[in-house]
């Protein structure tokens, strides 16, 4: 069992607060990703879990046992560093055997485990080489192997794929996912790459400047983001945010734009209180949910630029004072400055308040919002 729990963890480096009263609950056997931009505190989080950093406040639990004061080597958690930190002076075999030697394991047990791990990671023929003579992908596997041989209760991986080229990254993503499934162990994965996070995780925690923004399954992070930051962090091209004026009437929410209007079809009660009457709010809609209509019956826009990507084309549209993006099939033929009408998928609309918090999200459901235009 390896349930990892952080409660109220704070870590400061001088004036900078790297982790800010952070609480997380990671289930046993979960592929848990911490996603955030550089400087969000992801590496500090991993280092705190493994014990290389001591929190200034808060506690860390491994299966309900507090480990905040336990020496890193005794926590039975393996950390794979971002720069791998292989021992340059030792051969691959000795790199893999190192943690086992520290645990004073008998020689043949060490040999068995090292060969096992090498087999799983396909690095058997590299055992006699030194790290300097390995390629990036091979080094990555050795670093993983060093964690694997220990059979720890949890794995912490710090951006393990960021140094690899695009092709290798794709391969390793699939391998890692399979590996974690076979091992059945808790894996905490840190990355700034949202595609990695979306494709591999059971759950994602979005981190910003040491504060957790949202913890949820990938679909919800994508379709029901808690705030604008989360909405922007996943999804490429990023979500469009259209400035609107929000009014409430009869307990229902109404977002007004000069070219369209979004109305909620249900009572919104408390959510309305979040919004200052008449204050600036934002309607969020992802580019793939903005459709260009043939019959001209829709919200009027002007084409700002077109980006043909081959498999699809991104159309940048001027809507009022803003430019929003829409994804269209590759066959579309539009020129800059052309006038086109667009429609929004009402099941995919979000409303955010001026501070960026999500007020209401259709999250794929029908009958939540209605969009009307002139």
């Amino acid at each position: 069992m390896a349930r990892i729990r952080l409660e109220g963890v704070t870590k400061r480096f001088g004036d900078v607060v790297a982790l800010n009263d952070l609480s997380l609950d990671i289930a046993d056997g979960e592929f848990f990703t911490v996603l955030g931009p550089p400087g969000a505190g992801k590496t500090t989080l991993l280092r705190t879990i493994v014990g290389l950093e001591k929190p200034d406040a808060g506690e860390i639990y491994l299966d309900d046992r507090p480990i905040t004061r336990v020496y890193p080597g005794d926590r039975n958690i393996a950390l794979v560093f971002q720069n791998l930190a292989l021992y340059p002076d030792k051969k691959v075999y000795d790199n893999l055997a190192f943690p086992l030697k520290q645990a004073k394991m008998p020689r043949d047990e060490i040999r068995r485990r090292v060969e096992n791990a090498a087999g799983v990671l396909h690095i058997e023929r590299l055992l006699n080489r030194k790290p300097a003579k390995l390629s990036g992908g091979e080094r990555q596997r050795v670093a993983l192997g060093r964690a694997l041989v220990r059979d720890p209760r949890a794995y912490l991986l710090d951006e393990p794929l960021s140094a690899l080229d695009a092709l290798l990254r794709l391969e390793m993503r699939a391998e890692l996912k399979h590996l974690q499934r076979d091992l059945g162990r808790t894996l905490v994965y840190v990355t700034h790459d949202q595609v990695e996070a979306m494709s591999m995780s059971d759950r994602i925690a979005v981190l910003r400047e040491g504060v957790v923004q949202q913890v949820d399954v990938p679909e919800n992070i994508y379709h029901a983001p808690a705030n604008r930051f989360v909405a922007t962090v996943v999804g490429s091209p990023p979500m469009n945010f259209i400035a609107v004026k929000v009014t409430g009437a009869n307990g229902r929410l109404r977002a007004e734009h000069e070219s369209f209007e979004v109305e909620s079809l249900r009572d919104t009660g408390e959510s309305l209180q979040q919004l200052a009457e008449g204050g600036v709010s934002y309607v969020g809609i992802r580019p793939e949910d903005v459709t260009i209509v043939e019959d001209g019956k829709g919200i009027p826009t002007t084409v700002y630029a077109t980006e043909p990507l081959g498999g699809e084309t991104i159309i940048d549209l001027e809507l009022g004072h803003q430019v929003i993006k829409s994804i269209a099939p590759p066959t579309i033929a539009l020129q800059t400055d052309a006038k086109v009408a667009i429609r929004f998928d009402a099941q995919r609309i979000h409303v955010f308040d001026a501070a960026g918090r999500s007020v209401m999200s259709a999250a794929g459901a029908d009958g939540v919002f209605k969009v009307s235009f002139a």
Binding site: L52, I77, F81, N83, A85, Y87, P88, F98
Partner: protein, 289 residues
């Protein structure tokens, strides 16, 4: 354009040759002198550029392989074997002391920011003035604790004097090594000491070798400290070499040259032996993280 570059090349070559001669001439003179018989050391009226009757007598004298054989009155022997051994012991021990203390201090400063911002500079300051300036107080202190003319005395002083070099050099090497390597060892189950010996040190071998050699050479060639802090029991080779020109014995050019050449050997051999570590280490930690 063409004429310019040939002139420049010619000037460059001339400069190199002249500087080369300037630096290599003393070596040349010493080598030839060491093989000259006494008659050719300093004959009146002429200079002998190449030994006409080369002999190994000087070497034999210096290594104690023959009986004394000079024209001048001998106040003491010219057998340098004891002093050479003493030099090894003194320089070796001093180097070891400096390394042990310095490497640990350097790691503390590099990894754990021991002593804050000021400590590294305070340590470097130690070396900013020459030991000669405090040699008399050192003499008095050593005498007081009965360490005058002992190896322990020399070791302590040599160690102290070169400690700053070790710290300064090794600190850069430690800084160059990614800290994650030590941290990986800790995560793998090592104690701090274990991580240091098993993961960090093996990866600064080059720097360590370069530093050790550098310090050894400093201690090996020291003259003033040994001159003041020793007399007959722990005489080191440079001091002995100096004594080969006492007023009584006169200028024993030959044996001096021979001994001088012999003294170059240990550092040179040591350097060759650790050459493969040196190649990397000799950037002298100029790269800062």
């Amino acid at each position: 354009m063409e004429g310019h570059s040939t002139l420049k090349a010619f000037g460059r070559v001339t400069a190199i040759v002249l500087i080369g001669i300037l630096f290599l001439f003393p070596l040349y003179w010493m080598i030839t002198m060491s093989f000259k018989p006494q008659s050719e050391w300093n004959p009146i009226g002429k200079t002998i550029w190449w030994p006409q009757n080369p002999t190994l007598d000087n070497y034999k004298q210096v290594l104690g392989l023959t009986n004394q054989n000079t024209q001048f009155f001998q106040a003491s022997s010219t057998d340098a074997t004891q002093p050479i051994i003493h030099s090894f012991i003194a320089a070796g021990g001093g180097t070891i002391l400096a390394l042990v203390a310095g490497v640990l201090a350097a790691y503390g400063i590099a990894r754990f920011r021991a002593g804050g911002k000021m400590l590294p500079f305070q340590i470097l300051q130690l070396r900013m003035f020459p030991p000669v300036a405090i040699i008399i107080p050192l003499l008095i202190m050593l005498a007081y604790i009965h360490l005058f003319d002992t190896f322990w005395g020399l070791w302590l002083v040599y160690g102290a004097v070169t400690f700053a070099f070790v710290v300064w050099l090794m600190r850069s090497f430690f800084q160059e090594l990614p800290r994650e390597i030590g941290e990986a060892a800790i995560v793998d189950g090592c104690s701090q000491w274990g991580a240091f010996f098993k993961a960090v040190l093996p990866n600064v071998k080059g720097g360590l070798a370069a530093t050790a050699l550098f310090v050894f050479i400093l201690n090996w060639s020291d003259f003033v400290i040994a001159l003041v802090l020793t007399t007959d029991k722990t005489t080191t080779a440079p001091v002995f070499l100096n004594s080969l020109q006492s007023a009584a014995a006169g200028q024993e050019y030959g044996p001096q040259a021979a001994l001088g050449l012999i003294l170059i050997l240990p550092p040179a051999i040591l350097g060759l032996a650790i050459q493969r570590y040196l190649v990397r280490g000799l950037t002298f930690g100029a790269i800062k993280r």
